[in-house]
């Protein structure tokens, strides 16, 4: 098997970045469409929905990065694959967020 030469945390946090970015974009749509429930809860939790959003996204990034490192999922992926996954996630996240607010 070809060794891509990427440490497990480098790979796992690359995947965590891609997943967290995409889920953050989806959370934008879901919270804006559920103003009375989710958005209201996010406002009540910290005083501002954007603060809660940030805490959720950053926590997800850290937890996912650590958890994926334990499973070794990212170790099977090459640097080019990880770059592609990050790029795809960022493009999709941008389109979801900008598309929602346009």
């Amino acid at each position: 098997m070809k060794d891509p030469g990427i440490e497990k945390y480098t790979a796992s946090f690359a995947l965590a970045l891609a997943i967290s970015s995409l889920l953050s974009a989806l959370l934008v749509v879901i919270k804006e469409r559920n103003a009375d429930t989710l958005l209201a809860w996010m406002k009540a939790a910290t005083g501002h929905h954007w603060v809660s959003h940030g805490i959720l996204v950053l926590s997800l990034f850290v937890v996912l990065g650590w958890a994926l490192a334990q499973t070794g999922v990212g170790a099977r992926l090459s640097g080019n694959a990880l770059s592609g996954i990050i790029t795809g996630s960022l493009v999709l996240s941008g389109l979801i967020i900008a598309g929602f607010f346009i």
Binding site: P4, G5, T10, F13, F61, S83, I86, I97
Partner: protein, 159 residues
């Protein structure tokens, strides 16, 4: 600290983070033995600058933006908030994650390790691209406030 100065520090730290990412990108293209300590140091600086921009801008946004938002929404450029600010404030999280991840990838880099090299190049390039987009969106928000104030002034001056 006056709130205006706080607001100016937000794009200033953002610009410094962009410059640091450009530096990391250029050093990683070369990826020589002598570049390694600079790549690591400057990637850490990029993360630090981006976190400073996030915390200062975030504090200002939560504490003071409400008044500007009301002005923009009542002015001739409501899209400065409804599109540019909304997109900017939410897409910023992806940029923050990228800047946080950059040193993690950079510390895994060694000369001639092309897989990690490509990853660092892509992450640095995305920080530059998204960072410049944030600066541009911020300019639209500022202009949204300016045209709203101008419209108010002109309306107030008319007989």
């Amino acid at each position: 600290m006056p709130q205006e100065l706080l607001l100016m520090l937000h794009p200033s730290f953002g610009a410094l983070a962009i410059l640091a990412a450009v530096w990391v990108f250029a050093e990683t293209l070369n990826n020589a033995e002598a570049s390694q300590w600079r790549i690591r140091l400057v990637s850490l600086a990029a993360a630090l600058f981006m976190w400073s921009s996030y915390l200062l801008g975030g504090y200002w946004y939560v504490r003071y933006y409400g008044a500007d938002k009301a002005l923009i929404n009542a002015g001739p450029w409501p899209f400065a908030h409804s599109f540019f600010m909304e997109t900017k404030e939410h897409l910023f999280f992806s940029l923050l994650l990228l800047a946080t991840y950059l040193p993690l990838a950079a510390f895994g880099l060694t000369p001639g390790q092309s897989q990690v090299r490509g990853l660092v190049l892509w992450v640095a390039a995305w920080i530059v691209l998204l960072g410049l987009s944030m600066e541009g969106a911020g300019a639209f928000v500022s202009m949204g406030v300016k045209v709203a104030l101008l419209a108010k002034t002109i309306t107030g001056m008319s007989p």
